[in-house]
């Protein structure tokens, strides 16, 4: 007996689309617009904190003596809050049009980049609470910024396809 994964995937997308929540968002005049606004607010927090950490990482003394580790300890909770807002609003938007996003190549790329950005940021968070190489932390902060930037650019690209 073999399991037809493609058929299973299709029926899963179909099930999502038939849930009441999906229909309510899809047919509302303002829900997607409101969710996209929240998504953009989350993006400003995630991107803003990532930029500040990258700027500190690019300078030997950080920002006025505040190192990447100092800034990460204080500001990563804010970035996590921004991320929660993005994830919740993004999941609801995707839930409302599952086929559209599943078939979108930019969306798939975005999800892959997102996993990488989360992994590097999680490492940075853990590293900021321990001793360890400041150089590695600076490299991670720069890499995290580039990955979040790539997530943002691929997100913009989702709309063009």
């Amino acid at each position: 007996m073999s399991i037809d994964l493609i058929a299973l995937g299709r029926s899963l997308l179909g099930w999502i689309e038939r849930t009441p929540l999906s229909g309510v968002i899809r047919h509302s005049d303002w829900a997607v617009m409101g969710l996209e606004s929240l998504h953009l607010l989350g993006l400003a927090l995630v991107g803003g904190v990532a930029s500040v950490l990258a700027i500190a990482a690019s300078r030997r003394d950080g920002l006025r003596g505040l190192s990447v580790a100092d800034l990460a300890r204080g500001a990563l909770p804010l970035q996590a809050a921004g991320f929660a807002l993005m994830a919740a609003s993004g999941a609801l938007i995707a839930w409302s049009m599952p086929h559209k996003y599943y078939l979108n190549a930019a969306f798939r790329l975005k999800m892959a980049l997102l996993l990488a950005a989360i992994a590097v940021t999680a490492w940075l968070w853990r590293s900021a609470r321990r001793r360890g190489s400041a150089i590695a932390r600076r490299a991670a902060a720069l890499l995290a910024f580039l990955l979040w930037l790539a997530v943002g650019l691929s997100g913009r690209w989702v709309g063009f396809l």
Binding site: M33, D70, G152
Partner: protein
């Protein structure tokens, strides 16, 4: 036609504006840079605001966080203007009529006034804050700043929704 509308039409007809409006790649590129700049400006100011309110960086003196981050807010703001002005020029005639764009300009003005008021009043005495904590007035300005910047971002997003030719 009002003087302002004539002015917008004049900007709209510049060869530069027309070229940007009709380009396939340049417009989305400048738009992306504009969003990045907003991220830097709003992200860094929110870190400052939340420190003033007392939610993050409690172990660092508030003035240290302000001095480390505020220069980058201004740089982000400058980049926002540098990228925002060409975007405006390219669509000046449409934006003149766009209620979300008008609201955004008003909110930006209020955010600027809020920042100015903070600096000429309570922040003047910032050296005397520590260790007693940040006074209520400064925390109120910080809360207003978070609200206004959030509203600027949302109204910026809504420009696309109210876009009409």
């Amino acid at each position: 036609m009002t003087i302002l509308q004539t002015f917008c039409q004049w900007i709209y007809d510049w060869p530069f504006s027309t070229a940007l409006r009709e380009s396939d790649d340049a417009f989305p590129f400048v738009e992306t840079a504009h969003v990045l700049a907003i991220g830097l400006a709003a992200g860094s100011i929110v870190i400052v605001d939340l420190r003033l309110i007392g939610l993050i960086f409690r172990k660092e003196p508030a003035t240290r966080i302000v001095e480390a981050l505020l220069p980058w807010t201004w740089r982000g703001f400058a980049l926002m203007l540098v990228t925002g002005l060409p975007l405006f020029a390219a669509e000046a005639v449409d934006l003149y009529k766009n209620p979300a764009f008008r609201l955004k300009l008003v909110l930006l003005g209020l955010a600027g006034l809020n920042a100015l008021a903070f600096h000429v009043t309570t922040y003047r005495r910032a050296r005397a804050w520590a260790p007693a904590g940040v006074p209520f007035a400064a925390r109120a300005f910080a809360g207003m700043s978070i609200f206004l910047w959030s509203a600027v971002i949302v109204s910026g997003r809504l420009i696309a929704v109210f876009h009409v030719h």
